[in-house]
Symmetry: C2
Subunit: 703 residues, 2 copies
C-alpha cells in the first residue's frame, strides 16, 4: 500500500482550523503556511469566513472538491461525523490529530472503533488519532504541531510518542540532520508500524528507517516485513515499555523484563533490525547509516592529535569486539617517510599526529589509511590544543572523504564544545558524522559492521527433514480433544521419535519379571520410571529410580513403586513401570521452545539438567532455524566451551545437537498447537554418536 | 603535603615567556593576564626587556626575590639548568610545561631523572613535565595553555592527558560547570595522582574529585588513600589504557583486558571510587554529585508531560536496579485532589502531567513527591510541546528544589535542543543538573545510590583467626631457600592446616599393606595419590586414582603406580603413596588468590572443578576481607544459587565458605611471598559440616 496521499497531497483540508494562536488548529495551519506548503489548503471552520487569511469553509462538503488529505483537529466526539463527511465526498486519507480516543478508556475506544468502521467501509486510511502529525521536509509539508520542519534527508522516522517526535525535530534542526518523512503514529487505529516500515521500505527518499515503539501490534508480520526490508536499508528501532509489558503480563515471575527483552532481541537480530537502547544511540547510528557506506569488515584505523582520545578509542575497539587495523608495510613506510608526519610520535595504529598537528597531517594520514586494504573504517579524533586548526582540519577530512569515493566509513570525534563547534558543523555538512565521545563513535562502527555482516549472510535455507507428520497430528489431536494440554513423557517421546529423535531403549512392564526381562535385554544400569498418564512429575511421587544395576534390584524397585505410589496418589491410573536404558556417557544439554505471544516459536538452547536455570546460560532464536543459526545458538553459550571439551573431557558431536535443534524447530513450526516444549536432558556423546532425548515434555494450546 | 604554592601563588615566574603569539610561552603569560591573576608576574626571557608589557628578567636569579611558583616552558635540554637556579634561589614549586622528557624515550627519561634529582635534594615539588598546566578559577589563576578559565565550583579535576583537559575546559565553559582546581599531571615525574587525590581530599573548595588516568604509579597506596578520601567526597575516575596494559603484559592469554579491568573494578569498588566508562558519564555524575545531595535510598519518582520519556525512564529504572517509588496514600490523594492536576492522565509513578502541562503542574507535582517519605530521588522530564512553557517550568523546578531544602536529589531531562536551550540553562544555573536522555539521568541516580550505600557501610572489621604463623613461615622460607617456587600439594595443605583449614584424612604409605591399613582406618572409598616433591601434576603421570573401594583394590593400585610411574618419569624421588579420604558429598567450589602487581592480593571465589574456567563465574575482591565482603563475594556469583540449593539439592554451609575465604585472606595478607594460591576443589557440605580443602596449590615469589 502507499501513503502517498499523506506524504504528497496536492490539497489539504483542515477541519478545526483556528484563528486563535496557541490552539492546535491554529498551529497546524500556521505551520503549513510558514514552511511553504505548495498545494491548496482548505480551512474548515463554521464560525469564521476567513482563517489566517484563507477563505474558510463551513464543512467538508461545502469545499466543492475532494481534498487529497483531511487533517482533523476537532474534539473526539465530533470526529465520527467528520469521517462520515470524508466518506461521502470520497476522501482517501485522514490524519486525526485529536485526542480523546482509546487512550482515555472504554468510551474513547468506542469512538475510535466507530471512526474505524466508517474508514474501512469507505476505503479511507487513517493516521492517528492522538498524534502530532506528519512532516515531509522535501515536499515542504508540515502537517503537524511538532515545530518547524527539519532539513530534507534520508532518515524516515515514525514514533508512537508524539512528544518525543517533537523533541527529535528540535534536536535535528540544531544538528542539521535530514529526514525524508516523520510520522507520529499516535493510537495506530489504522496505519501502524507495519504499514510504516512497508511504506518507508518502498520510499526511494528513505535510506534509513528509524522508529520509536512502545507496543507492536502484529509482531510476527512486523518482523517478517522488517527482515525483508532490512536487506535494502537499515531499520533502527528504539523499543520502550518493557517494564510496562512486564507489569501487564501480571506475572510475579522475576526476570520477566529480561525475558521480554531477550525475545525482542532475538527476533530483531534475526530480522537484521538494529535495536537502540536510547534515542541518543539511535541518532548516533542513523547519522552514520544515512551518510556513510557500510564497513567491509571490522578493522578500524584511528587518527588523533593526542594520546588520551586515541587510548579511549582503542579500549572501546577492544571492548566492542572490533579490531585495531594493522597497516600494510606500504602504508607504514608511506607514513614513516612522509614529511608531514616526520615528527609524529606514533605512526602505528592509533596514529598520534601530536598536539601541534595542523590540517595537513590529518589530510595525509587519513588519505594513507583509507588507501590501505587492511583498513575497513576510519575514526578521526581531534582535541583542541592552543594551536589546533579545528575548522581547516574538518575541511581537510571532508575533502579526503569526498576524494576517496566513499568506499569506507569515516567518523569524526572532535572533543570540546565552543572551540570545535564550527569544525563539527563543517563535518556534519560534509556528511562525516561527528560524535561526542570516542566510545560512541566506536559503538556506531560496531553496529554498522554487525548490520553489514547480517546483510551479507548467505541465503537462509531451512532444511526439511523426512518425518512422520501424520503420527504427531494424531497424538496432538487426541490430546486436544480430551483437553489434555500437558502431554506426558511417553507421548512426547513418541512425537520426538516421529521427528527423527532417538529416545532411550526400553519398554513398559506390568510385572517384576517382565521388568527384569527388559532390563536384561538392554543391559545395565537401567532407569525405572512409573508409567501413568496422570503423573506428570514422576520424581515428586518417588516414581523414578536411576542406576539400577541388577535383575534382583529391578524387581525390588518395581514392587516398591507399585506398593508405595498408589498410597501416595490414590485413584491414579498406573499403566506399569517403564524400564529404560540409562544414558551416562556424554553431556546433558537442553533443547526447548517457547511460543512467544508476539513472535511465535522461539527456540532455546542451554546447559541441561537443573543447571539450566541456575547458570542463566541459555540462548533464544526464532524458528524455523537454518543449520547456521542452530550452530550459532550453540556457539553463543558458555556451555559451548564444555561441548568443545575445554575442560579436558572429550568433545561432543556439535553438529548432532544442531540437527536436533533444527528437527525440533521443524516440529514446532509445523504444529502451532505446541505452546512449549523441552527436551531435558538431551544427552550428547562424542562425534559420530547419536544423542538421546532422555526426558521431554510438551504443552499444547487450543488455537 | 600541600600543593598551595601551585594553587595559590602570590608570585609567578615564567621561564620562557614569549612575545610571539601562538608560542606556548606567550599563551601562558597571556592567559594569566587575561584571566585576571592578581599576584606578581615575572617573565623570564634573556632576549627581551619587556614581554607583553611586563618587565622581563634575563634569568631567575636576576629577579631578586623568590617567586612562589616557577612555570617552565623552555626546551627540555635547558630545564636542568633552570631547576638548579630554582634550587639556588629557594623556589619550592615548579610547573614544567615543556615536553621532550620520558615520553620521547631513554634520552628524555635521563633528563627527567636529572631534574628530579635536583628537585628532591632541594625540596622542590614538580608538576609535569609534558603537561598543559594548572587552573584555579576561584583564584583567577590560569597557569596553562588549556584555554580560558571555566567557572569556579566544586569539582577538582586531574588528567594524565593534557589535550583531554583542554577539551573538558572547553565543554565546561559551554555548560557553566564549575571547578575548584584543574591539573594536567603530564609525565608525573613528581606530583602524581596519589599526591593529587590527597591534596584535593584536603581541599575545602573541592566537593568532588574527578580524574582521567592511563597508568597508576603505586596502585596500593592510591587505593588506600582513595578509600579514606571517598568517605568524605566522591572520587570519579576514568581509567583508560586497559588495552595498552594488556599489550604490555606481553601475554598471549586472551581475556587479558577483562582480567585487568576486573582487577581495577574490584579495587575501585572496595575503595568507593566511581569508575566511569567515558568522559561523558564522568561529567554526568560529577554534576549531580557537585550540586545535589545523595539519595537516601533507591526509590525514584518520575514526573513527565508525555508518555514516551516516562516509559523510557521506567525501563531504565528497572534495568539499573533502582525502584519506581510507590507514593504514600497521602501523596496519592494530594495529587488526585489537586486542581492543578485534575486532568492528569496518570498520578501514579511515573506522573504524566499531559502535553498541555504548564509550570504550575510541575511545581505542584514535584513538591508533592519531594514531601513523600517513600521517595528518595526525583527525575523531572519535559518534552517541548507547542504550548509547553519550558523556561517557566525550569524556574519552577529550581524554586521547588531550593524551597525543599536540598534533602533529596532532583535531576532534570528536558528533551530537544533549541526549544529547551534556555530552560536547560536555567536548570544548570539553579544547580538542578540537566541530562540529555532519561537513561543517563537514571544511570546517574544509580551511581549516586551506590556511592551513598558504600559511604554508609558499617566500619570494616577484619577478623583475625588464631593460626600457626610460625609453621607457615618455616615452610615458605624453606621453599624460597631451595628456590622451589611452586609448592606441592602436601606442603600447601600443611600451610592450610596451620591456618585452620581441614584437609582430607589420610597418610603416606610406603608399602601396599600400609596403604590398606590407612584405608581401613579412614573407611572407603579412598583416593590414592603419588607422593613426590618432583611431581606437581600428578594426574598427568597417572598418579591419582579416585574411588578405590576395597583393601584389595588399594593394594593393586599401590603396586601399579609404583611400577608404572618411575617408568614414565625416571629419576624422580617418590616418597610413597598418599591414601586419603574421598570427599563426595557436597559442592565443589574454588577459593583462590592472585597477587596483582598493582593492587596486591585479590581474593577469588567461584564454582570449583574444571567448570571454573569454562563458566566464567568468578568474582574478585581485594584482601583482607571482612566477613561481609566474603559473603558478598559469594552472593555475586551465579554459583550462589547452587549453594543455596536452588536446583533442588540441599543448601550448603555458606558461612563456612565465607570463613574459608577470610582465613585464606589472612594467610596471603600475612605472607606477601605467596604470589598465587588455589584451593580447588574446596568441598562444602550442609550447614554445620566442615568444608574440606581437597586439593590446593601455591606459588611463591622472592621479594
Amino acid at each position: 500500500m502507499t501513503l502517498d496521499a499523506f506524504f504528497n497531497p496536492r490539497s489539504v483540508a483542515i477541519v478545526g482550523a483556528s484563528c486563535q494562536k496557541g490552539k492546535v488548529g491554529y498551529e497546524i495551519l500556521a505551520g503549513l503556511l510558514r514552511d511553504g506548503y505548495e498545494g491548496v489548503i482548505f480551512p474548515v471552520n463554521p464560525k469564521h469566513q476567513q482563517v489566517q487569511g484563507l477563505k474558510a469553509f463551513t464543512d467538508l462538503k461545502s469545499i466543492g472538491q475532494t481534498p487529497d488529505l483531511v487533517i482533523v483537529v476537532v474534539a473526539a466526539k465530533q470526529v465520527p461525523k467528520i469521517m462520515q463527511d470524508c466518506a461521502d465526498i470520497g476522501v482517501k486519507a485522514v490524519l486525526i490529530i485529536s485526542s480523546g480516543f482509546k487512550e482515555i478508556g472504554p468510551e474513547g475506544a468506542q469512538t475510535e472503533q466507530s471512526i474505524l468502521r466508517i474508514a474501512k467501509s469507505a476505503g479511507i486510511r487513517i493516521i492517528g488519532p492522538n498524534c502530532i502529525g506528519v512532516m515531509v521536509p522535501a515536499n515542504k509539508l508540515n502537517a503537524s504541531f511538532g515545530g518547524m520542519l527539519p532539513n530534507p534527508g534520508g532518515i524516515g522516522y515514525f514514533s508512537q510518542s508524539g512528544s518525543l517526535l517533537a523533541a527529535i525535530v528540535d534536536m535535528a534542526r540544531e544538528t542539521g540532520l535530514g529526514f525524508s518523512k516523520l510520522v507520529s503514529i499516535g493510537n495506530k487505529a489504522d496505519v501502524d508500524e507495519l504499514t510504516l516500515i512497508r511504506a518507508l521500505g518502498e520510499d526511494n527518499e528513505t535510506k534509513v528507517i528509524a522508529g520509536y515503539l512502545e507496543t507492536i501490534a502484529d509482531g510476527d508480520a512486523f518482523i517478517r516485513a522488517a527482515e525483508r526490508i532490512s536487506r535494502q536499508k537499515p531499520i533502527l528501532l528504539m523499543k520502550a515499555g518493557f517494564t510496562e509489558a512486564g507489569a501487564r503480563a501480571a506475572s510475579s515471575h522475576t526476570g520477566r523484563l529480561a525475558e521480554v527483552e531477550s525475545a525482542f532481541e532475538c527476533v530483531f537480530e534475526r530480522a537484521g533490525v538494529v535495536r537502540c537502547e536510547s534515542i541518543k544511540d539511535q541518532f548516533d547510528y542513523a547519522r552514520a547509516f544515512a551518510y556513510q557506506p557500510l564497513p567491509p569488515g571490522p578493522r578500524v584505523a584511528v587518527i588523533a592529535n593526542a594520546g588520551g582520545a586515541g587510548i579511549m578509542a582503542t579500549d572501546a575497539i577492544e571492548r566492542e569486539d572490533l579490531k585495531l587495523a594493522v597497516f600494510t608495510p606500504e602504508t607504514q613506510s608511506r607514513l614513516a617517510l612522509s614529511e608531514e608526519l616526520s615528527r609524529a610520535a606514533s605512526i602505528a595504529n592509533p596514529i598520534d599526529l601530536l598536539g601541534d598537528a595542523l590540517a595537513d597531517r590529518y589530510e595525509f594520514a587519513l588519505r594513507a589509511v583509507l588507501d590501505d586494504p587492511n583498513v575497513d573504517a576510519a575514526l578521526v579524533l581531534l582535541s583542541p590544543h592552543a594551536m589546533t586548526a579545528c575548522e581547516e582540519t574538518a575541511q581537510a577530512v571532508v575533502r579526503v572523504v569526498e576524494e576517496s569515493g566513499h568506499k569506507k566509513p569515516v567518523l569524526g570525534c572532535f572533543l570540546g564544545a565552543g572551540r570545535v563547534a564550527a569544525a563539527v558543523k563543517i563535518l556534519r555538512q560534509g556528511h562525516v558524522p561527528p560524535y561526542d565521545s570516542p566510545e560512541s563513535a566506536v559503538k556506531t562502527i560496531k553496529i554498522m559492521c554487525r548490520y553489514a555482516k547480517w546483510r551479507s549472510r548467505p541465503k537462509r535455507v531451512v532444511k526439511l527433514f523426512n518425518v512422520n507428520r501424520r503420527k504427531v497430528e494424531m497424538i496432538i489431536e487426541r490430546h486436544l480433544r480430551l483437553n489434555q494440554l500437558e502431554v506426558g513423557e511417553m507421548e512426547t517421546k513418541e512425537v520426538l521419535e516421529a521427528y527423527g529423535f532417538v529416545v532411550p531403549q526400553g519398554g513398559v512392564a506390568t510385572t517384576p519379571e517382565q521388568a527384569a526381562n527388559i532390563a536384561n535385554q538392554i543391559g545395565y544400569p537401567v532407569v525405572l520410571k512409573i508409567w501413568s498418564p496422570d503423573i506428570l512429575h514422576k520424581t515428586e511421587v518417588g516414581g523414578v529410580k536411576t542406576n539400577v544395576n541388577s535383575e534382583q534390584e529391578v524387581m525390588d524397585v518395581f514392587d516398591l513403586m507399585m506398593y508405595r505410589i498408589p498410597k501416595k496418589v490414590p485413584q491414579t491410573n498406573i499403566l506399569g513401570i517403564c524400564v529404560e536404558q540409562m544414558c551416562t556417557a556424554g553431556r546433558e544439554v537442553i533443547l526447548g521452545m517457547n511460543r512467544d505471544p508476539r513472535f511465535g516459536p522461539l527456540m532455546m538452547f542451554g546447559m541441561g539438567g537443573k543447571l539450566v536455570e541456575v547458570l542463566e546460560d541459555v540462548v533464544f532464536y526464532p524458528a524455523p532455524l537454518t543449520a547456521e543459526e542452530a550452530r550459532e545458538m550453540l556457539v553463543r553459550t558458555r556451555t559451548y566451551n564444555l561441548l568443545r571439551g575445554s575442560d579436558g573431557q572429550p568433545a561432543v558431536d556439535i553438529d548432532a545437537i544442531a540437527e536436533g535443534l533444527q528437527r525440533l524447530s521443524q516440529l514446532v513450526t509445523e504444529f502451532p498447537q505446541i505452546k512449549e516444549m523441552d527436551i531435558n536432558p538431551y544427552v550428547v556423546g562424542r562425534e559420530g554418536t547419536t544423542p538421546i532425548a532422555v526426558d521431554a515434555m510438551m504443552t499444547l494450546e487450543k488455537r
